[in-house]
Amino acid sequence: MLRMTRSFAVDLRGLIDLLSEHLYAGPEVYVRELMQNGVDAIRARTDLGDAFSPALTFDVQEGRLTFTDNGVGLSPDDIHTFLATIGRSSKRGSVEFIGQFGIGLLACFLVSEEIELVSRSARGTPPVRWVGRADGSYTLLTGEDAGLPDGPVGTQITLRARPDRAAFLLPDRVAAWAAEYGALLPYPVTLGGAPLNATGAPWLDHSRGEEARRAATLAYGEALLNAPPLDFVDVNTHAGAVRGVAFILPWTPSLDARGHHRVYVRHMLLSEQEEQLTPRWAFFVKTVLDAGTLRPNAARDALRDDADLHAAREEIAGTLRDWLLRLAREQPGRLRELITLHYLSIKALAAEDDDFLTLFLPWLPFESSAGRQTLPELLERSDGELRFVADLNLYRQAAQLAAPGGPPVIHAVYTYDHTLLERYGALNPQVRVTRLSAADLVQDLAPPTPAERRATATLLAAAQDTLAPLDAGVRLSRFEPAALCAMAFPGAQRDLHRTRQAVGPSGGLWADLLDDLRDVSADTYAMDVHFNLNHPLVQRAAHLPDGPLLRRVLGMLYVQALLLGHHPLTARELELLNGGLLDLIGAALGDPDPSRPAPHLN
């Protein structure tokens, strides 16, 4: 049996195109990859115990970029290892230094046809010169070969701009990217001799005392937010070795501005929009975090979702929570200010955390029929019961019925409010927390007395007979405000009823499906209308005999109730309105027979 072993000929160009298209955000990442390699090399040299002053240096002239680090450098063996590793694994973070070095170097092919690397290892091996080309070919010279000067320890990489990528090697742009990626590096990054970074995070600089540190950190925050932050909170976790700050935003962030945090991994920028390391509820802050031991994903644009990340997030959540608790304890005035801007964020945390809820809920505002109020304020006015509505249209009606000075109704349509009220009720069983339905609202209306019932029997029967064909049930009640003739409430399955009518008798499959869904036990009418016996018009109508006039009046009052309640009209209700109006106009103009039958009602 013949056995042959061959290597695949990897088309490096194809691989690079794939990387640039699918893995990397854009060709500019070559700057980041160069710097990351330099940072890793400097750490490796530090780990060796060498005494040196770390530095990263760019030099750009006429489409030719040179990048130098004085890190650990590469030996001839290292070069062979990284050549063997190139393209073998894209799992950043699980490959050792040399493997990562090779993968990072590949990114340079995004802008250059050729990469020249000259390096001398701190381990004392001879210098090496490697020139790789995008077609996969390369030349390797080591010190034993002629012509290599015995330069300082470190690595220098030279790129020449591809004609179509010249814009990515312009000095200004390289400087801007390098400054962005390396802003927190604790040693100088320079381009053409000019410094690009401030060598280190201001919040870690304790050398000039706490006041100076605070001022420098707040200045950083102001530059970051384009406005002075309200304050900042130091972050220092055990898991993931995260150091950084959370700036308290001086505004309420919009939904899409949430979760945009600046995260570095080992001093190198990973993302401006990281959203996993900071807890989701904490959208009252923008964080700038430097993770010492968390790992980036393959594309290096986010953190890898692993147990360390979760543990670090828990710690950060704890830090922010403690800060809020301390504020509540020590500076309640400032907490109040914070709540006016950030109550949503605080509600988001309270919805997840019962202890926090108990402590903070008394401070948080809720919308109600009595305006924006806190729960203690609402409770004061409502005899120990909190009543809320979680449907916009129903809230409108509930608010209409809520008497001034009477128990208010809470508008719990907003995210978290319903959850908070439910949890509050669970934790405080002595306070009744009631979610109102249309049926509950109706229960608050006073039913007629037996005498009234007898006096209005004709009215009720005529109304039921008139409105049942419109899928509306009728009740007579007394309620305030007395100026309302009638109120219409949607039945529990109004939309289903209305859709069933729209789909029509010939709707076939869909009509059958809607019939299946109809809950017969809870089913009444699409709408329920309550005529108000407190209203003079209704009182007068009660004296009319059953006949076309009474039925027309009742029909019109029903449609008016629909309009007042902002309920959409069906075609038949619209027809009723139009017919009724014409009749009234006719009557006003002296129609010979104003009580002629209204055809649309029969």
């Binding site: 907003y414 439910e422 669970a426 069983p429």
Partner: protein, 365 residues
């Protein structure tokens, strides 16, 4: 506010009750204005928002309305709109599973109607067997599932196929259904390695794989999935099933964390009209309370929502009563589903879930 500004405002919100409330408001505004096309657009948004808020009964009603409207107004809405609505149509098929009051024959007719419509649009080679597979998985129809799975695997994806992440998770569901827990776990790992995601994935994925990992005794992996998944589904009304899976895991590993998780999620689980997800939660809750009883903790203090059936103002509950409540509700629902589906499948789920407690537990670290 006009219909369009309300819709825009809603679309800027994450999925959930608030977004759904705003979309319902937009539908009301559109109906008030009498603008049929705006009412159609608003209801399409309602289909979407209700589907992702775990309120598919509203989705079905809105879809029926849109289907009828589009059939009547094909010319105005344009031919492409048939494709637009067809994308939502598939959710109808899945939603029918939730409601045992919809007879099987109707579901089968809905599948036929769906197949006819999307074939007329030049699609459906894979999608039709894919949804047949979903129905077979729901019914517990082993042969039907196998047949549909094989046809689906050889079919080509098209523009109306379900999203790749959801399809990938269905493969994991199928493996679990056939008893291949290792295959299920491997498929989930593949999905995560590839970073597959959509509105439901990997949120539900981490919970979905827990029972398979528990049965395999792979507790470390189960813990990882629990930790990664719980925050993604906590408090989300669209993830009751995943919440139930996490409750099962906690019931086997940490009874007091399980009680907290239960207290936080039982309110909506008891209210949702999607009865198969409610069944999932009852089953998990039965496991919790049988575990508490087995641990000799019959008297419990729980902070439960006030509108919960059996709520006690003093917060003191007996584990055996809670067990009876959840196991009883699970049996009733299971019976309703099996009667509708014509197969005895859901009735056996309670014993299968309670049997998780008999497996060897992780050794404490």
């Amino acid at each position: 506010m006009t219909v369009h500004t309300t819709l825009e405002e809603a679309q800027n919100l994450p999925h959930g009750p608030q977004r759904l409330a705003l979309v319902e408001e937009a539908v009301r505004q559109a109906d008030l204005s009498g603008d049929g096309e705006a009412a159609y657009e608003a209801r399409k948004e309602l289909i979407y928002s209700a589907n992702y808020a775990g309120q598919s009964e509203k989705m079905l009603v809105a879809f029926a309305w849109c289907r009828a409207y589009l059939d009547e107004h094909q010319a105005e809405l344009g031919a492409w709109e048939q494709h637009g609505l067809a994308w939502y149509h598939k959710w109808v098929l899945i939603a029918t599973h939730h409601f045992p009051q919809i007879p099987l024959e109707r579901i089968q007719n809905l599948h036929r109607d769906y197949a006819d419509r999307i074939r007329a649009l030049g699609a459906g080679g894979g999608t039709v067997p894919y949804f047949e597979l979903q129905l077979a998985l729901h019914r517990g129809d082993v042969n039907g599932a196998r047949t549909a799975f094989n046809i689906w695997q050889f079919a080509r994806r098209d523009h109306l196929s379900d999203c790749p992440a959801c399809e990938a998770q269905t493969i994991a569901d199928y493996h679990e259904f056939t008893g291949d827990d290792a295959g299920c776990a491997a498929q989930v790992q593949r999905m995560l390695d590839r970073g597959m995601s959509c509105s439901h994935i990997p949120h539900s994925t981490h919970g979905m794989v827990l029972p398979a990992l528990i049965r395999l005794g792979r507790w470390d992996e189960a813990r990882r999935h629990h930790e990664q998944g719980r925050d993604l589904v906590a408090g989300d009304p669209d993830h009751v099933t995943a919440q139930a899976r996490h409750l099962e895991y906690l019931s086997l590993t940490d009874l007091s964390a399980a009680q907290d998780w239960y207290a936080r999620h039982v309110g909506w689980a008891e209210r949702t009209t999607e009865l198969d997800t409610r069944l999932d939660f009852h089953l998990a809750a039965a496991l919790l309370f049988s575990g508490l009883r087995a641990a000799g903790r019959d008297t419990l203090t729980l902070t439960l929502p006030q509108d919960l059936p059996g709520h006690r103002p003093d917060g003191t509950y007996a584990a055996h009563e809670r067990f009876e409540h959840h196991a009883g509700a699970a049996r009733t629902l299971a019976q309703a589903f099996d009667a509708r589906n014509g197969l005895p499948y859901h009735a056996h789920r309670l014993e299968r879930i309670l049997a998780l407690a008999d497996l060897p537990r992780p050794t404490p670290a």
